[in-house]
Symmetry: D3
Subunit: 237 residues, 6 copies
């Protein structure tokens, strides 16, 4: 089984970190590929960036399809950009990291708190909370103010900031922490030890969900909304 | 006051129809401009198209800003593509036609029904219903199966199909009809006569809402989420 | 086009202030009339007052209809008293100031906070938030403890109290402020400068919404609930 | 213990019917008084009527207070008119018949259906469903088209119409029926036999709830919203 | 009329306290019986205990049925354990103390706060809040950390802790207090005096609701879900 | 990795079927064990049965813990009986089949329909839909009237009934089908072919989710609610 992870920003360092996190949790028979676009946004930190990221996701899947396709796709960016458009393109599972993280967090406890990068992305995060049915389970959302690219090589100061936000969430009401950026994957284990509750990294969660769906023969429903588009729009460029 | 309408598809005929509808309801001191991209999707009928449309909205606003900017913007496509990204770019009002139509419909009656083009777009419409707080007011959503571009010059058969869906919605529970495509603007008056309840065209609604906000000094809040992005991503191309 | 504003309390000073606020934002072709009852409640600050206000709204519309009627009506009291009964009487738009303010605030940002007069009116405000579908958008409601009639001629102390509540709401989570009393209309511009986000006065919002609906031919749906009552009750007295 | 039932319409026949229904279910130590206004609406069938009914409720309570007051009040009209204003006036329980019927119906089964008079009153009924937290429990609302005053002396044809709507609700999904008019109190027992599920008359339910609260010392909270109004408005007339 | 109260823990002292509280509010023609299991959980403080409690409720009702049955049953434990299973067994009312307390609290004011024993039981309490439609009315839930059995003979320190939590809830937003343990029944009157708002004990509330339903002929609906089970499972032991 | 499946009814045939379904989708390094109680309910078809099932789940886990424990547990009954109590006992993942099926179905499409056994179990299913945040995603629930034990060896007539309910759900609005009984696991593949959309069996889904969580180190949060109970109740028998 081959799962392709789509990092929609142009940071190769981030892509490598994501691939490492994915391989660490994949079953022995799962092959992980991780890709990113050559041009586009270096980090996804605004709604404008989200559009670029969505375009990148579509283009990366189309390229992968031309090369034979994969058994499942993971969108490795916490805003789950391009998720619906990606589902139009394939009949295998397409899983967003925010989506997978929230679903598994809601099983690991009654409630979870999200700790993410810039506060300006919380509006998008709240939209996803609503869409995925998590408005009761998600009891807090906090932005650390740390830009995405600073996570390529996380400083101890940034780690401390994130850890304190996790502790605040647990002290308040959160049973579980969801890390709100694919670039935080490498902090997950240390944070879990520190805060004493499960800490969910979306990349690991999505690899698990995508492979579980593929094994069980649960693909993307092609009924109406996610059927192939009537007219394949020539994508930008 | 100048309001710029952004038709995110490449159909000039559709843009012209939208401009006519907008001017018909604008106050005497409001100037209407309507634009569309040169390249992109000819119609917005899939989630893939939505991404192209969102890119087009951003690019059209950037071009308008380079030319001096407008007092308000209307996104003239029922999926309200690029709404959040557009709000990052300006501090004047940005109004989507679905957004405006639903808000005014919820004032014209207790409940409304949406009648739109392809059923595959209903998922997106339901997302907007949730986002705009209309899950109680919106009592039905129906797709006519008519492609967007067939509305450039609506046949009597297509009109009949749409009119019957409006009648069905009213017979069920809808106090008001919302037309789910900017290209239906010219059908609005005849449908209102036929079904006997208010029929809301999003273009007319959005021109009203945008100009009302501009007159009252209510722009787009620049607090955090819609503040200028930290790093303006070089847009595609 | 003529819009009649219905101030349901007996304060002529308040009515004048409302008319000034309305005219400041009306398009050049819109004529504003503002009326209030001769007898009734001097201010609407309790549920008992709401009943008097609702009666006043009905009587004022009936008087206006006898004089030829208007193109739209605005109920200029933040509890939107008598809104449903008013809609039974006419087929033109009837817009409440709370209703209009909340709808436009939800377009100006992701979230808004309401700042109003006495805390005892917050129950009614929460009912309206629910009814208008604003339970996600409205992130705070605060009462200033300032009686309505003290707003006829606002002291600097009262202004300061209101301004601080606006600042608190913005510091917490509100992208936009909604002023919860028609009598605060004259404070709107100064508050917007002070708090740095859009501040929505319901009178201005409602004039905009009502005129937009009238221009677009969107009246009150007369289907069932708002159809003329089967037996016109002889109103009180 | 004395419970006063407030019929806000002017029909003495209806008041008598309500008193009979109340006495049939009251405990031996509960005294029932039923009153109605001399002037006002003969039936409450529109939003305009609701305002008259709310005024009547306030005036009837004020008259009762002048005569020494009661241990609890029941608003005997399915729209629960004047409920909030009545709660401002007293510290004993005030219970609406719709409110009590819905709360007890939600205990008698998972779900209930409401069967009422004119369909135009369903908007108000839906508002109450939301306010009382019954949006999950209430699975259907049906109007029979029978005017309230026809229930003063119910014809067999009217009874049949109502019974069939009850049967439809049960066949669909309703575990329990709520009768949506105080004037249907005398039909309750026969309908329960016919449809085979509990049928809840609001008058009986409200007498039970009001007396239970009075016995347990649970009055109306006088904290803020329901505290005595700052300035008792001179009521109309 | 005979109402049987089911205390699902093995504490006879608790059962006696519950019976006293019930008799204090019962109408003169209502006979109160209170029972508890001989073996089982001494207190219900975990989800594991809830299962034992649910079993006990079923067994106690079966024993009562063998002895002739009652006119109504009250489940005297704030988690309302076994409520659905009990409803399968009888066609008379079955009322949980959390259920009754929340319904009456929602009538006594706009909002209520729950004050209970261990914080670990709040998850269950929140589930009940959702199930009973109280998510808007219930504005706070607080655990005192006091084990259930410490309430057999409440110390002044425990009383003080509970009283302060009640005061905190009222200071925040709660119009009414709901006591979240049947063992707090004897504290109710003193707390109401201290905090100045209605304080609802579930035992008193449930006795009132159950007797009201029985008087009005409102039993448990036997339609489908609560019909006698197809195969009566031989209960454990 | 070892996952233990807990079938809470006494049917060994059902347990075997569940084990087969689980092994068919497990990764090569996952060992599946399936157990059932010796005494208890032969099928879980009522709320009374649910209590027995919950007891069985707790006892089966305790027995497994005495034998060394597992890396994850699956509760193999669509009502997810005993889920909360099980989570108190362990710090590894505990996953219910309804829970897992609904979460994966919500990823495979916008909406799903549940097809289950007896209609009397739909109340429980609706409770789970609410708890898991699926009230928007779940668009239909249908009972087939087929008793659980008839699924030990499904007749062609029973299969046909289930298949038609699946087709009805898809024809209405469901993108995905969720099978509402662990005993339907063997029908899943044939139904997916017949209805043309993903069909989710809870056993397969739960094995995937549980193993994904175990691989990613996401156990059950032991914060407060799911911490070990203060006093381990001696379980029944």
């Amino acid at each position: 089984m081959r799962i392709t992870l789509l990092n929609p920003n142009t940071s190769r360092a981030m892509t490598d970190k994501i691939a490492v996190a994915a391989r660490a949790v994949a079953a022995p028979d799962v092959e992980i590929t991780a890709v990113n676009p050559d041009v586009g946004a270096p980090a996804i930190e605004s709604h404008g960036d989200e559009i670029l990221a969505a375009s990148a996701v579509v283009e990366l899947i189309e390229a992968d399809l031309r090369a034979g396709g994969s058994d499942a796709y993971v969108i490795a960016c916490f805003g789950d950009p391009g998720l619906d458009a990606a589902r139009e393109l394939v009949d295998v599972p397409v899983v967003g990291v925010a989506e997978a993280a929230m679903h598994l967090a809601a099983i690991a406890g009654r409630s979870f708190g999200v700790v993410t990068t810039l506060t300006r992305t919380l509006g998008r995060a709240r939209d996803l909370v609503e869409r995925y049915g998590m408005s009761r389970a998600c009891v807090s959302l906090a932005g650390s103010g740390i830009p995405v690219l600073d996570l390529e090589d996380t400083s101890s100061e940034a780690y401390e900031t994130i850890a304190r936000l996790c502790e605040d969430a647990v002290a308040a009401e959160a049973d579980v922490i969801v890390l709100g950026c694919a670039g935080m994957a490498d902090l997950c284990a240390a944070l879990a030890v520190r805060v004493g509750v499960p800490v969910v990294d979306g990349v690991a969660a999505a690899v698990g969900v995508a492979s579980s769906m593929a094994r069980a023969g649960i693909g993307t429903s092609k009924r109406d909304e996610y059927a192939p588009p009537p007219r394949r729009a020539a994508l930008v460029g």
